[in-house]
Symmetry: C2
Subunit: 299 residues, 2 copies
């Protein structure tokens, strides 16, 4: 029941009103893999530079994430720097250095070429598409993306939609990709392009799932203090896919619950910088927030 | 089990990407009264000018709203003009003419001075406060407000909080009033100032209720086409209070459901200009959206 996750592993430098952290562990696949690790064995597929420290590998191993598919290449690890506005929602990206990701085509170890499920965490759609030639999945396949790829690689992204079960993106991105302002219309457009299901992430307002006749809205667990929202969407996707990877036949109820677990895991991520809060999560913390979300929406 | 609603009755001129309507029926108390009318007898307290046409009185009467408390004064009816951006969320207010509302202190007919419940729809907090000297309520009292009053009459608004059960405002306004960016902190601040409960409206993202240990989140019914969002928040408050006015002892479940009914009524309002869509609502339409919202959040 393994889940293969491809995406970025990075050094993040992040400033919010609660402080600044330099070169801390980040990247879409990092958050996704750690989020998923609460529900499923995870094979991480990515690339790092020779500057990637042993202690970061140990973070993955500590959560049972297999790093055999993380190639170590001559050069520096992907670096991303951003500063959040006071509202802890908007941010300015100060610098992006692809480094070892430049032109990267991962060599997939033979033992990772068959996966139950596959999550293409947010990264260049060309690299996301490349995975299909190298890893086969018998279960669910999901893909995350962002405004930058919609603006620069829309064709490549649309080509992916026919190969995946679920596209995850945020509300503005759904509008950008579809040209529709109404989210129902945006979801219909994306499904018409081949994705079987769409998950529209709305940050602090939760997320929506559209799948045929099914619509589901998951709220966000209201945390006492948002310290750094970096990685919340990636954790959400990872938690969601991790939960689904454990299911042999996915029911509507499983789909709904996968969003709930994604939302819960993301609510931990935002409570501290990097993956610090996520690493402290216990099963009982997840159960407590699950109950709280049930109570939040019951009527 | 009557509900008294005080607020504005207005002529609105509104432009959205779906067209422009001149001098159509609007105003916070108009939307609130029509929303509430699905659940409770309503006494409307407001003022109009001599230009207010018979056909608009008939709209209220058609929904059983008592207009005995709508004073008819020499002068022109309150006028408001706005143009919505393409996103149908943001708008530019082009003109506000208070007209007969300038210095208005309503003369409350003796038969309206006792109400079961009271809803102070969005209007000058001084006028909202004045009502307490003239109408006594044995049941629930709620108050709506907006950014303009928080900026210009914060003291008067804070004074009101000790006299009411529920304050309704949107997320940006909750942050503005409290100086807190986290909505939990904002709600805590408002409750510390005297309101027993806070409802934070989030537009297309639904609404949150905070009341002691109770937190509840209601989603928005996803309509196929938003034509004009004017009055959605007022309809929400009216629907909510109308539902609560019918209850002798309000349970947590009643509170939760009152937000659901408010959200449903608001989802009709946005489907057409002015109160056009709201006037066509049948009980079965409400039941259908109630079921859809239940399904939307169930997991």
């Amino acid at each position: 029941m393994s889940l293969a996750i491809i995406g970025s592993v990075a050094f993040d430098t992040v400033e919010t009103l609660y402080g600044k952290k330099n070169n801390v562990l980040g990247g879409s696949a990092t958050y996704a893999a750690l989020g998923a690790s609460f529900f499923s064995p995870v094979n991480l597929i990515s690339v790092v530079g020779t500057d990637f420290p042993r202690k970061y590998y140990e973070i993955f191993r500590g959560r049972g994430v297999n790093t055999l598919g993380v190639e170590r290449k001559d050069g520096e690890t992907f670096r991303w720097e951003a500063k959040y506005h006071k509202d802890l929602i908007h941010r300015d990206t100060l610098s992006v250095k692809l480094n070892v990701f430049e032109g990267f085509k991962p060599v997939i170890p033979i033992e990772l070429r068959k996966a139950r499920s596959l999550f293409l965490a947010n990264i260049d759609p060309e690299l996301q598409g490349w995975i299909f030639k190298n890893v086969s999945a018998t279960g669910i396949v999901a893909c995350d993306t962002m405004d930058h790829w919609i603006a620069t690689k829309k064709k490549e992204l649309l080509k992916l939609l026919g190969k995946i079960d679920i596209l995850l993106l945020n509300d503005e991105e759904a509008r950008q990709l579809s040209g529709e302002s109404n989210l129902l219309d945006a979801a219909r457009y994306i499904i018409s392009k081949g994705a079987k299901k769409v998950v529209i992430k709305k940050g602090e307002h939760g997320a929506l799932l559209f799948s045929g006749g099914l619509s589901f809205m998951v709220p966000v667990y209201l945390v006492k203090k948002v310290v750094d929202p970096t990685g919340a969407g990636d954790t959400f996707g990872g938690g969601m896919l991790g939960y689904l990877a454990g299911k042999r036949r996915i029911t509507d109820r499983d789909l709904r619950r996968s969003l709930v677990y994604g939302s819960i895991l993301a609510s931990f991520t935002v409570e501290d910088f990097s993956v610090n809060a996520l690493l402290k999560v216990k099963d009982r913390d997840i159960r407590q927030r699950y109950k709280a979300l049930m109570s939040l929406v019951r009527f």
